[in-house]
Symmetry: C2
Subunit: 313 residues, 2 copies
Amino acid sequence: MSKDKQFVFGHQNPDTDAIASAISYSYLENKRGENTEAVALGKPNDETQFALDYFGVKAPRVIKSALPEVNKVMLVDHNESQQSVSDIDKVTVTHVVDHHRVNFSKPQPMYYTAKPWGCCCSIIKSLFDKYGVEVPKKIAGMMMSAIISDTLLLKSPTTTPFDKKIIKDLAKIAGVDDIHAYGIKELKAGTNVDDKDAKTLIDTDAKSYTLGGKSIRIAQINVVDLNDITKRKAEVKQAMADENKSEGYDLFLGMVTDVLNSDSDLIAVGDPKLAVEQAFNGKLDADGMMKAPGVVSRKKQVVPPLTKALGKK
Amino acid sequence: MSKDKQFVFGHQNPDTDAIASAISYSYLENKRGENTEAVALGKPNDETQFALDYFGVKAPRVIKSALPEVNKVMLVDHNESQQSVSDIDKVTVTHVVDHHRVNFSKPQPMYYTAKPWGCCCSIIKSLFDKYGVEVPKKIAGMMMSAIISDTLLLKSPTTTPFDKKIIKDLAKIAGVDDIHAYGIKELKAGTNVDDKDAKTLIDTDAKSYTLGGKSIRIAQINVVDLNDITKRKAEVKQAMADENKSEGYDLFLGMVTDVLNSDSDLIAVGDPKLAVEQAFNGKLDADGMMKAPGVVSRKKQVVPPLTKALGKK
């Protein structure tokens, strides 16, 4: 009799790492005797779809809830309930593999592997090596794409020596000779903002947090020209204000990131704005915008200073 | 210049696993280039002292707070703030190695290794193997003693095939031919209750939890004869009631565990008693006591059913 099936999935609004982590970790666990299916909590974004098409990989099917299909799940590239499947509180989490802060509470002991590396797929590659399982060519391509995506081609301050080493191993398996040339194509595929409405732009890569008692939504929009968003600021701010109202967020913070030059513009709608100014040591202009030179990582450069400014440990 | 010093420590009211995990993990991290000191949040109990004396290992010094000596710490054999050092909220946690439920929140990503195994020292032994570091003889003896302690000589339902394999490896390194004979001696060393007052008995191996909004204290007292405590029940219950009052616990639950026969008596003082009856499917007598045959693990057989009975996920 086979084992109970488990879902493996990344966070809501999946990015390339969320999708590639689910695909690769599900493959690894199945090789180790588990019965898992990689699924996703949303459709691939443009960048991820580019990588899926490039390496000929099918997107995982989208689920709305874990029950009634499975009672047990494995989480990759996230651990916080707010970022997980809608019924996460009703199922058993057997494994977590993640590279974000740990903000997790479940009554049963389980397998939890976290490392402060730039990409969850780097950790998963180290698990393939640990268990002596070979990474298939197509999956290696997706994992390499995830490292490119999460580290902005190894330029984000989240990048570690492990990511730099592992991306080379994966590129070799995937048959990609020029990581940089492929990476620029991949990142650019995710920056087409002109044909998207403002709501889509602020929804595609957004995460929710409770920081210092405040409900905060932080979205990242990748561009190759910051002006692509600046020229549409009224529309974007309105979409943020609408979401604050409908979802009950205190503050919506948008990071508009120039993926080629590794800089961001911030857009803050809601309160407390003072915490944003303290966190980034600057002043928001009359539009609630400010420059954040060198800021590209929500996890390392936005959440920690904002947490501190909001007066929580 | 050497790296900033970090403390490595287990939970409050340390047991053999908490002490042995700190000693062994500190040794491993130092071999890997870190600058750590194994410390403890309390003095060794009688069982742990027996093992320390047997293998000629010095007890880690007791600290009351991490600051101002260090800013960074590594947690072993626990992760919950309530069970950790008093100023845990003011320091950075760089590593956790643990085998309990994850109930953890810190703003920065870090290294977190949890496995649902019987003993934290089993996980640490697997990390020695992963990094190719040899376990010194004395430390192997302590780690073996920890597995004996946490699994009650491999009889607790928390015991996994990993613990069974690893204890043999450790015994070999430690030069212990008969694990069972040594183990009985070690466990018995921790069951001397006659010369201890009731407050000491309920304090020595006790942990605090917040379950379903209630503040719960769960203590375990190891004995070779359940009657050693039954005959002193009035005194023990009074000590529990006193602690509920002074510390604000809603419920104090004592597990009196016969380490040779793997059974427990439960003693409940405070509320809600109904949750205890539901959790263990029985009736508390007029003294607030009930038999719990086969129950020996707080982590696996007490916390989860109590969590469920208290109406939390």
